[in-house]
């Protein structure tokens, strides 16, 4: 019946193999590093890696949703900075506010930023790359003009805010717990709920999504809002973890986040990949950073390896796309 040359099931399992590939790469990397330096597997080292992963993973979860809809959110690093500075300022002025208020405030700041991105992309009909590149500078500029060169120091922040980064629930640090809940929750939404599948559908074929009667505008705004809100949440975690916050917080983070998402197997052309894959990508990037430090390898190699991973990941996506395009041309033929 099908006269196609492309073996579609192979592509399907390829994408599933992507997450497996990351897990295997992680195991190999951890194993190799631990043999070289057993301290790599010490409790403190693992704890550090997980804490470092948490902030990246929270942002990667939101970014993955945006990328799955065939868009991108480059403003997340600036949103993190804006939210971190806003929340730190708020907490230093009102030391009695409970932690939950700080978290909600961060989410709210991020949500507003994300919503603006979504509105500009959808109603301005401007590509997300351009819009969020613009808002990257706008949000950062806002943070700078607000801070005016000042910074919030750790000694100005209430103790319960700072200790949040180190406190644990049942032995698991709060930061890690939040990251797990976020990645797990968003994964579940994308996998098992109608809205999630609609987001996949929108990225897989935008015109078909319109014709299928999917509420494209609502979903798109939702995706950007989520990405912004999670970047805002990450800002709170950042402030709690590092204590000292200035307007430059999170500069350049957007590239790490996009790298984690792409390495984690979310296709840049949208429509495929998973949120937990993006979370794994964040973990892999963090582990690479730590492992190279532990193995005393030049920092340059960390950057180069991350770059190579991205090229590999995008190259794999591109290969699939080229093969698909070729098969489509053949298939469309009536010759």
């Amino acid at each position: 019946m099908t006269t196609m040359t492309v073996k579609a099931p192979a592509i399907g399992s390829f994408f599933k193999a992507r997450e497996l590939g990351i897990v295997l790469a992680l195991v190999a990397l951890v194993g190799y590093t631990a043999i070289g330096n057993p301290r790599f597997l010490s409790g403190q080292s693992i704890r550090d890696i997980l804490l470092n992963t948490a902030i990246l993973a929270v942002m990667a979860a939101g970014q993955a949703v945006v990328v799955i809809t065939r868009n991108i959110d480059l403003s997340v690093g600036s949103v993190l900075g804006l939210s971190a500075f806003a929340v730190a300022t708020m907490m230093s002025a009102n030391p009695d506010l409970p932690m939950i208020v700080a978290l909600l405030a961060g989410l709210a700041v991020g949500a507003v930023c994300g919503l603006l991105n979504g509105v500009l992309v959808r109603y301005g009909r401007v590509p997300a790359l351009v819009v969020t590149l613009g808002t990257l500078y706008i949000y950062r500029g806002l943070a700078y003009s607000w801070a005016g060169g000042s910074q919030v120091n750790a000694d100005e922040l209430p103790r319960h805010f700072l200790s949040f980064a180190n406190d644990s629930l049942l032995g698991i640090p709060w930061l890690v717990l939040i990251a797990i809940v976020v990645v797990g929750g968003v994964s579940l939404m994308m996998r098992n709920y109608r809205v999630g599948r609609e987001l996949y559908a929108m990225g897989s074929s935008p015109p078909a999504a319109e014709l299928a009667g999917i509420k494209v505008a609502r979903n798109l705004l939702g995706a950007f809002l989520l990405s912004g809100a999670l970047a805002g949440l990450a800002g709170v975690l950042f402030a709690a973890r590092f204590g000292t916050v200035d307007a430059a917080a999170g500069t350049g983070y957007e590239l790490n986040v996009v790298a984690a998402v792409v390495v984690g197997g979310v296709a840049v052309f949208g429509g495929s990949g998973s949120v937990w894959g993006a979370g794994l990508g964040a973990l892999l990037l963090t582990v690479i950073g730590s492992a190279l430090a532990v193995l005393d390898i030049n920092q340059f190699w960390q950057q180069a390896i991350v770059g190579a991973l991205i090229v590999l990941a995008i190259g794999a996506d591109r290969l699939v796309a080229v093969r698909l395009a070729r098969s489509l041309r053949k298939r469309d033929s009536h010759v």
Partner: protein, 502 residues
């Protein structure tokens, strides 16, 4: 038959895009248990009707009535909710999602936690495929399905949303014989189950075999709605094309000169195959055929814009380098593209700049373009073509469509080509300017230029061409002389029918 209420009534709908009236006052009913054919030439307005039913376009005037109740679709979702499912010529599946998900999108079965019940979803899809008599794995991704299988999935989608009205826009265009048979079997069983089906096709044997009723459209207007049994294929074709062949198209008779262009066995995988024809000096050769038959693609390959896999292009006896528009231009070819706004002109630049663009190198002195040379050149050519314009320095975008087309022509004629390829030379141009463009082409041929014209407008083809090469699905279906070419013979060849003795 007439006593039964129609499931869908299209009542006097009209739709215009800018100044172009795509559909004017079209009405027809769809009855349950009937397959209703909608036929018409390229640009007759069929697709606009489909898009109205799909909720993509809103009719400017007129109304759609579903089982007696007037409806107003704000978007595709509303049409879907009203029980209308549209199967487009190009299937609209989500390649990354599974077949079952594609079918269920929007009304997936849910568990108590409002999560998607994948097991129920797959079972429902499997059941639909069983009902349609096809074997497809519901869990496989839609990516990689053949067009025929994609259409089956689209039909399953329509069934799963319990659509009572099925609109199929040229579903058989890309199918092989066996696949068409399978599709027909499915459509017949749906018809027997009481669905109302609107079936668009260019193939008359399909209409006579499958459909009970036919609506014929021409130039956006409703011609007739009749029972298929009451019409012969000849009747249908006559009504589709039947308009006055006006004397607007005066091609002077010119003795043909030497062969200028020789295309032999030109093929590009998936686009066209084994296309051969030749053009002599002083001749106008028209490439006719339906949209998608590969006409423009062939000429773009000849000019070198697109690549070709095999075959050869000889120009003035010498083989032309493939894939190089620069070589084609240097040899003396000019291509006036179909879409002048996108490909033919730089809309923001002045008229004179546009006219002299292909020759800017030759006009330049020491690498600089000096105003006077440019202006003189532009002045000569726009005068020759009787272009109506304010100042030569105005942006080209301020001109009317017809005058823009003249600027494109002026631009290429100023290079003094030996072969002129024009793709849809009069699309979107008013009648008066049309005649001027035709007069000009005729004049050029009389001066010994060879002209290849790609056109969807039959009167233009018949009036202008010395010979007509009819393409169908990437092949040369017929080559007709001026004497042999009639509306009927060209349409028959374009649609793959035998020429009937009339």
């Amino acid at each position: 038959m007439t006593a039964t209420q129609a499931v869908l009534d299209v009542l006097d709908v009209s739709k215009s895009f800018g100044a172009v009236a795509a559909v004017q006052g079209v009405s027809f009913p769809l009855y349950a248990g009937e397959v209703h054919a909608l036929v018409g030439e390229n640009g007759a307005g069929k697709s606009t009707i489909v898009k109205m039913l799909a909720g993509v376009h809103r009719p400017d005037t007129g109304q759609l009535v579903v089982t007696g109740a007037p409806v107003d679709f704000a978007g595709p979702g509303d049409a879907k909710a009203a029980g209308i499912a549209v199967i487009y010529q190009e299937p609209t599946l989500f390649p990354d999602l599974s077949v079952a998900e594609n079918i269920a999108m929007g009304n997936q079965p849910l568990t108590r936690l409002r999560q998607i019940d994948r097991k129920a979803m797959h079972a429902a899809a499997a059941k639909l495929f069983q009902r349609l008599g096809v074997q497809l794995d519901p869990t496989r991704p839609a990516r990689g399905l053949s067009i025929a299988d994609q259409q089956i999935v689209e039909i399953a989608k329509a069934l799963s949303s319990e659509a009572r009205i099925l609109v199929m826009d040229e579903p058989t265009a890309a199918l092989s014989g066996v696949e068409v048979e399978r599709l027909f079997a499915v459509v017949r069983s749906l018809r027997e189950e009481g669905a109302a089906i609107l079936f668009i096709s260019h193939r008359f044997e399909e209409i006579t075999r499958l459909c009970q009723r036919v609506t014929i459209m021409r130039d956006g207007k409703h011609v007739c709605t009749d029972l298929v049994a009451d019409l012969t294929v000849d009747d249908m074709i006559r009504r589709m094309v039947g308009r006055d062949l006006s004397a607007l198209f005066p091609k002077q008779d010119v003795p043909a000169g030497d062969v200028v262009l020789e295309v032999e066995g030109l093929s590009r995988e998936g686009v066209f195959k084994d296309v051969s024809f030749s053009v002599r000096a002083g001749e106008i050769v028209a490439l006719a055929g339906l949209v998608g038959a590969g006409r423009s693609e062939v000429m773009q390959a000849v000019f070198g814009v697109d690549p070709y896999d095999s075959g050869s292009v000889r120009f003035l006896g010498r083989r032309l380098k493939a894939g190089s528009p620069r070589a084609a231009m240097a040899a003396g070819m000019a291509l006036v593209p179909e879409d002048r706004r996108q490909q033919g002109l730089v809309m923001e630049l002045s008229i004179e700049r546009n006219v002299t663009l292909p020759r800017s190198r030759k006009l330049a002195r020491l690498g600089l373009l000096l105003g006077t040379a440019e202006r003189d050149e532009a002045y000569t050519w726009t005068r020759k073509l009787q272009t109506k314009l304010g100042r030569l320095t105005d942006p080209v975008g301020t001109l009317s469509g017809g005058n823009q087309q003249k600027v494109v022509l002026a631009k290429w004629l100023s290079t003094a080509p030996k072969l002129l390829i024009v793709d849809e030379p009069t699309r979107g141009i008013d009648v008066g300017t049309k005649a001027e463009v035709h007069r000009l082409m005729s004049q050029l041929a009389a001066d010994g230029m060879a002209v290849v014209m790609v056109s969807s407008e039959l009167p233009e083809v018949l009036g202008m061409a010395d010979r007509v090469v009819v393409l169908r699905e990437g092949h040369v279906a017929a080559e007709l002389t001026r004497a042999e070419a009639t509306e009927e013979s060209v349409m028959y060849a374009a649609m793959g029918q035998q020429v009937a003795a009339s």
